[in-house]
């Protein structure tokens, strides 16, 4: 079943654009989106998150047209490239920002997440007193704690060192498996895209150029409009993700 779909979405912001992009993400998929700077990767996520409204086309969420829905009605966890941590709140309050439930449960979940992401020692710090990599982990934690079933990640590990990045990738895979998440991840790192994603979608000049199954040759060369449905992992099982998330 498709949980997120871009239907012939076009948006022209001058320097950045999307041109007639169609993409369907199935429940439980991990889609990696790659492409050069300015290819429209971030626009694709921000149109889905409700940060931007397309000039034409539709965004369909869980079977409902959400093109004109406000961000708060979409129940998507978006982790943007620029973190967007709230500067008037400390790390803990940022983590808890989107959480619901009793304060005790929030605190418990928040502490667990902080431990998992290695930011437990930062909980009471101001967010302008932490490094870029730490800020990315806080933003990721905040997105995960929001509890949505769809996670949009925009270069969310770009400021991390290799080791932390790999650990964060593994953690995300576990989290995805345990919480039955659907993930759309934008990354510059093609190897990471192939390692983590079931499918790797390549954008160029606002159009979908290719779609690759992880570590496999292109499925389709030229794809507007492209339909990507619920396909998991690689047939040969070489994908880590496929090993861990096959249901």
């Amino acid at each position: 079943m498709s949980v997120l779909e871009w239907q012939q979405v076009s948006l022209d912001l001058g320097e950045f654009a999307l041109r007639d992009v169609s993409l369907r993400v199935g429940s439980g998929d991990w889609i990696s989106i790659v492409g050069p700077t300015g290819s429209g990767k971030t626009l694709l996520l921000e149109v889905a998150a409700g940060f931007l409204r397309p000039d034409s086309g539709n965004v369909v969420l869980r079977g409902t047209n959400a093109t004109h829905s406000p961000p708060e009605a979409r129940s998507l966890a978006y982790v943007p490239q620029d973190d967007l941590l709230f500067p008037h709140l400390n790390v803990e309050d940022n983590l808890r920002f989107g959480m619901r439930g009793s304060r005790a449960r929030q605190a418990e979940a928040c502490n667990r997440m902080a431990n998992e992401l290695g930011i437990a020692h930062l909980l009471h710090r101001r967010v302008d007193a932490i490094s870029g990599g730490e800020a990315q982990r806080v933003a990721l934690g905040r997105g995960l704690l929001f509890g949505a079933d769809i996670l949009l990640l925009d270069e969310c590990t770009s400021a991390l060192d290799e080791e932390t990045r790999a650990e964060t990738g593994l953690f995300l895979q576990r989290w995805k498996r345990d919480h039955e998440l659907t993930i759309v991840q934008v990354t510059h790192d093609r190897s990471e895209a192939h390692r983590l994603g079931d499918l790797v979608v390549s954008l160029r000049d606002g159009r979908i150029e290719t779609v690759l199954r992880s570590e496999r040759p292109p499925l389709v060369e030229e794809l507007p409009p492209l339909i990507v449905s619920n396909q998991k992992g690689t047939p040969d099982g070489s994908s880590i993700l496929a090993d861990q998330t096959s249901r």
Partner: protein, 269 residues
């Protein structure tokens, strides 16, 4: 002429202009403090009529500032964030009282009451709605300038909150009202405080609209600027100077506080 010499001359001319301007301001403001000396000044400000003026000024300007904020916070936010029809016209209308001569603003308030008088068939006088030449009228006269000024300064404060921060809050489940309360207001807190102080300082120094709308009545409508005007009119020069010095001091304190909050805001946003 060598380049370094040209630079020295250039800097010298500019710094001289700056120095002369600072000297002028220090002399013309400082003369109020030098005129009768601190002891005499304190003595004059301790007189009951001066104390009454100070108290009246403090509460009316605070009330006008509070009333201005009640309207200006939502108005400024709406103008900053939403695409409203006729936004340019609204902008001009709200800026108009700031650039009008203060006497015209006061006169316009009186005219408004003349129109209301007609609407009430001449029965407005004596009702609580009739604020002319009464203390609540002082608050209204101050509000007339304070509210548009508040809208202007609060718009600057709200526009410094990145819109993406608000979108982030909304994507984390907060509606527009929740985002305003949890993100926009706290993130613009220092701008709001600085703006509030500026509006209060402007209100306490208001003269023209009060003079026209409420008159200059000793013991009744004599807020500090009116009291200064009355003192000079009645030849009580020393008292007028002492009250002027007090207003200068209040203005300086307000400006120093505003600068402190503006610095904080730069760090926060």
């Amino acid at each position: 002429m060598k380049s370094s010499t040209r630079n020295r001359v250039f800097r010298g001319v500019f710094l001289t202009a700056l120095g002369l301007l600072v000297c002028f301001v220090v002399l013309f403001l400082g003369s109020a403090f030098l005129y009768s000396g601190p002891e005499r000044m304190f003595e004059l400000l301790s007189e009951s009529s001066a104390r009454d003026s100070i108290v009246l000024s403090l509460w009316t300007s605070s009330a006008a500032t509070l009333a201005a904020l009640v309207f200006a916070i939502p108005a400024a936010y709406a103008l900053t964030r939403w695409n409203l029809p006729g936004k340019t016209v609204i902008d001009v209308l709200l800026d108009l009282p700031i650039v009008l001569p203060p006497l015209v603003a006061g006169f316009s308030l009186l005219l408004l009451y003349a129109v209301l008088e007609r609407a009430f068939s001449g029965n407005l006088g004596g009702t609580p709605l009739d604020l002319r030449f009464r203390v609540p009228g002082i608050v209204l006269a101050q509000f007339t300038i304070a509210a548009p000024l508040a809208v202007r300064v609060l718009r600057a404060a709200f526009s410094e909150v990145p819109e993406r921060m608000e979108l982030m809050s909304r994507s984390l489940g907060q509606g527009e009202a929740g985002t305003f309360a949890r993100v926009s207001l706290p993130m613009s807190r220092n701008g709001l405080v600085a703006g509030t102080i500026l509006v209060w300082a402007r209100s306490i120094a208001e003269f023209g609209p009060i003079l026209i709308f409420c008159g200059a009545v000793r013991g009744k409508t004599d807020v500090l600027p009116i009291a200064i005007f009355l003192s000079f009119s009645n030849g009580e020069l020393e008292k007028g100077v002492a009250l002027s010095a007090l207003l200068i001091l209040l203005g300086a304190t307000a400006l120093v506080t505003i600068r402190r909050f503006r610095g904080e805001r730069a760090r926060l946003v």
